[in-house]
């Protein structure tokens, strides 16, 4: 159904024809979750994901399946888009208790009290993640929001899988410590 277009002046991708529409659909939720981990507002996440897939569509002829998985290629675009977003904003926002983003993932809780407790827990957790360094935040986001394996995270961040595992282990331990400090 989909024909891979070639940009003039560039060599055609050697990969077989791919159904980019299905690929985009299959990764939409994961990329959106990853972006939502990294930004504070829902609007920003929706704006960013639109930019991410537009870039992916425009440069889809540059994707070579022989060089890596589609997930790593797409998350690399998302990561670069996020970096540009941070550069334009020059700041990192923190999660707030009244953030509308948190209303979505606590709405599934049946009890209102449970919703409030869970919302507070998640906000603390995400704020703790925000206090980590950039690399730790990136690895945690790619791991738990993007649901990428260590190999895939390594390809996105130009690291080895073992190194990703160690960095992730350290990041979680630092997060645990950070949450304990915030609680005390």
């Amino acid at each position: 159904m989909l024909t891979q277009e070639t940009t003039p002046g560039k060599t055609a991708a050697p990969s077989p024809e791919l159904d980019f529409a299905d690929l985009f659909r299959s990764y939409y939720r994961r990329v959106y979750n990853y972006l939502s981990y990294r930004v504070a507002t829902k609007e920003d996440a929706e704006d960013l994901i639109s930019v991410v897939f537009e870039k992916a569509y425009v440069h889809r002829d540059q994707y070579d399946s022989a060089k890596g998985a589609f997930s790593t290629w797409l998350f690399r675009i998302a990561r670069n888009t996020l970096a540009n977003y941070y550069r334009s904003r020059q700041r990192r926002s923190t999660w707030e208790a009244d953030s509308e983003v948190t209303d979505d993932f606590v709405a599934a809780e049946p009890q209102l009290e449970t919703q409030i407790i869970r919302q507070e827990t998640i906000i603390k957790l995400l704020n703790g993640v925000k206090q980590l360094n950039e690399r730790d935040q990136e690895i945690i986001s790619l791991k738990f929001a993007g649901r990428l394996s260590n190999d895939e995270i390594g390809q996105v961040m130009d690291m080895t899988a073992n190194n990703v595992g160690v960095v992730l282990f350290r990041a979680l331990r630092r997060l645990q410590k950070q949450l304990q400090e915030n609680a005390s």
């Binding site: 996440a45 995400l126 992730l168 331990r173 997060l175």
Partner: protein, 317 residues
């Protein structure tokens, strides 16, 4: 175990957890209890995109790749709302289209009523209803008028039939301009074989045009135009329009005053109050006060008769 081994073990358990397998914390070493619990909390955090964002993404994909087989995510209530909206818009569109169609039909129907053809038919019916009472005299009068349309046959046709009681019929029935024509077509054959062909065609047009304005005006001025005298300046001048001032046909109605045939001579009007059936175009006479609005027509077909009758003056009794 060194840190790298702990990290490797944690990564394996995280992969199992993210794949949906339950984590048995009882078997997890104490070193990994804290990171695994945090990982479990982080894995539950899910940010669902809004339906609007999903719809925008789907539309974007449709623009890029064409119509899709189906969305990756289940349809939400937004599509139902959109469907309802589309249905409402469609119904409104159909309703508006029906109204426009109905309006156009009504408008076109009213236009047909205004057309001259529609008015001619009832006029002829009136003529038919009137013709039984006035049929004979009017026919005779028409026979005299017919030669005016074709002067070559006027003398032959008019002379024999002008002797009949022409003036009575015209004076008594002012609106006989229409009725004159139809009987003329039917009755001219007995008068003369040559006259019917010419008079019938000329008067046919004159009647139709007269019929329009007689219906609208309905006054006697139309009759004054019919006070056509024959080529000889006959007795009948309509309402006392005889040149000699004596209306033989209708002496009681002659006022003794100069009468322009009941029609006011309109400036610039070639047929002064004279658009009668003889001219064939008298139908365009204004219908008010006998003013004939017909400038070119009254003159074209029937010059001599039109002027002669309009300016005739009579003394009357």
């Amino acid at each position: 175990m060194n840190e790298q081994e702990w990290a490797q073990l944690l990564s394996e358990q995280l992969d199992e957890m993210l794949e949906g397998e339950a984590v048995d914390f009882s078997t997890v070493v104490d070193e990994l209890q804290g990171p695994l619990q945090l990982s479990q909390q982080l894995a539950t955090v899910d940010f669902p995109p809004s339906p609007a964002a999903e719809a925008a993404f789907e539309s974007q994909l449709a623009n890029w790749f064409g119509p899709s087989v189906g969305p990756a995510f289940p349809t939400t209530g937004l599509t139902k709302t959109g469907f309802v909206n589309y249905a409402i818009i469609g119904l409104i569109g159909v309703g508006l289209g029906g109204l426009l169609l109905l309006g156009s039909l009504l408008w076109s129907g009213s236009g047909e009523e205004v057309t001259p053809a529609a008015t001619l038919l009832p006029t002829k019916q009136e003529t038919m209803s009137e013709s039984p009472t006035l049929g004979r005299p009017i026919n005779d009068n028409t026979a005299t008028v017919t030669p005016m349309a074709s002067p070559t046959t006027a003398e032959t046709v008019a002379a024999p039939q002008a002797t009949t009681s022409l003036g009575d019929t015209i004076q008594l029935e002012p609106t006989s301009t229409v009725s004159d024509t139809l009987p003329t077509a039917t009755l001219t054959p007995p008068a003369d074989p040559l006259a019917p062909a010419t008079s019938g065609s000329d008067e046919q047009t004159g009647d139709e045009t007269n019929a329009d304005q007689d219906v609208s005006s309905g006054d006697e001025t139309g009759d004054s135009s019919e006070t056509d005298s024959g080529p000889t300046g006959d007795h009948d001048r309509g309402h006392g329009n005889d040149a000699d001032g004596i209306d033989d046909d209708n002496p009681g109605n002659s006022t003794g005053l100069p009468d322009n045939g009941g029609g006011n001579p309109s400036p610039g009007d070639f047929s002064q109050g004279n658009g009668g059936g003889s001219s064939g175009n008298g139908g365009q006479s204004g219908g008010s006060g006998g003013q004939s609005n017909d400038t070119g027509n009254g003159k074209s077909d029937n010059n001599g008769n039109g002027k002669g009758n309009g300016k005739s003056k009579g003394k009357g009794k």
